[in-house]
Amino acid sequence: MPFKFFFYLIALFVLYSAYFVVTARNLFRSAMGLLAVLIGIAGMYLLLNAQFLSAVQVVVYIGGIVVLMVFAILLIADVTQKVFEQSPRWRQGLIGAASLLWFSLLAGSMLSYRFGAAAAAVDKSGSIREIGRALLSPAAGGYALPFEVISLLLIAALVGAVTVARADADNGEGKEGKA
C-alpha cells in the first residue's frame, strides 16, 4: 500500500515536472524542470530497489549534467530574454499530435504484449560489490569489454569537448573550455 502511494506521488511529480519542461517559456525554467524530473526518477529507482543507480543518478545527472546545462545557459546571453521563439502554431499542433500517436503506439504495444511470466517483482537487489565484480570481470557474463570501451568513449568526449569549446580561442574568450 505505501509503495503504491509513493509510486503515484512520484509519478505525478515526474509527469508534472516533465510537462513544465515542455511548456516553460524560459530556458532556465526548463532546466529546473529537468532537475525535478531527474530527482523524481532517482526516487523511482529507489522504489525499484536499485539504490546504487539512484545514487549514481543523483551524482552524475543532477550534480553533473544539469549543472553543466545551467552553466551553459548562464554563459549564453539568451537567459535574459524572457520568452524565446516558439515554432509556429501549426507545427506545434502537428508535433503534439505526432507525439500523442507515438505514445499510443508505445503504450498499446507494451500493454498488449504479455510480460506475464515475469509478473512478480524480485526483491533481491544487486549489491555494489556484485555490480563491481560483474563490471570488471572478463569472463562470460562480465562487462570488462564494454567497460573499457566506455572509458575510451569518455576520454574521447572529454578531449573533444575541450577542443570544440576552445576552437576559436583567438576570439579572446576561449577560457570556458571545460566539460
Partner: protein, 103 residues
C-alpha cells in the same frame, strides 16, 4: 506494489513529452533537454524490466543503465561544447537560423 505496466506507461508518457520538447523547441539547449528526458524514460524502462526479471541473479538491466548514464554524460558535455561554440560563431542558439554551411 505497482505492476510492471504502471512503470511502462509512466516511461512512455515521459518519452513522448521528451519527444515533444525536442521537436517543438528551436533552441539547441532545449533539444538537448528533451533528449535527456527521453533517455531517462528509457532508463526507467530498463530498471522496471530488471526489477521484474525472471532470473534473480541477472544484472543486465543495471549495467545497461550505468552505461547509458555514462554515455549521457559524454553526450551532454560534447553537446554543450558544440552549442557554446555555435553560439560564439552565430550569436544565436536557434537551430532554424543555423543553416549556413559557410561561416
Amino acid at each position: 506494489m505497482p505492476a510492471l505496466n504502471h512503470y511502462l506507461v509512466l516511461a512512455a508518457i515521459l518519452f513522448s513529452l521528451g519527444l515533444t520538447a525536442a521537436l517543438t523547441r528551436r533552441n539547441a539547449i532545449m533539444v538537448l533537454i528533451g533528449i535527456e528526458l527521453m533517455l531517462n524514460a528509457a532508463n526507467l524502462n530498463f530498471i522496471a524490466f530488471w526489477r521484474f526479471r525472471p532470473n534473480p541473479d541477472e544484472m543486465v538491466g543495471i549495467m545497461f543503465v550505468l552505461f547509458s548514464i555514462a554515455i549521457a554524460a559524454a553526450e551532454a558535455a560534447i553537446g554543450l561544447a558544440l552549442i557554446i561554440s555555435l553560439y560564439r560563431h552565430y550569436r544565436t542558439t536557434d537551430l532554424d537560423q543555423v543553416d549556413a554551411l559557410k561561416g
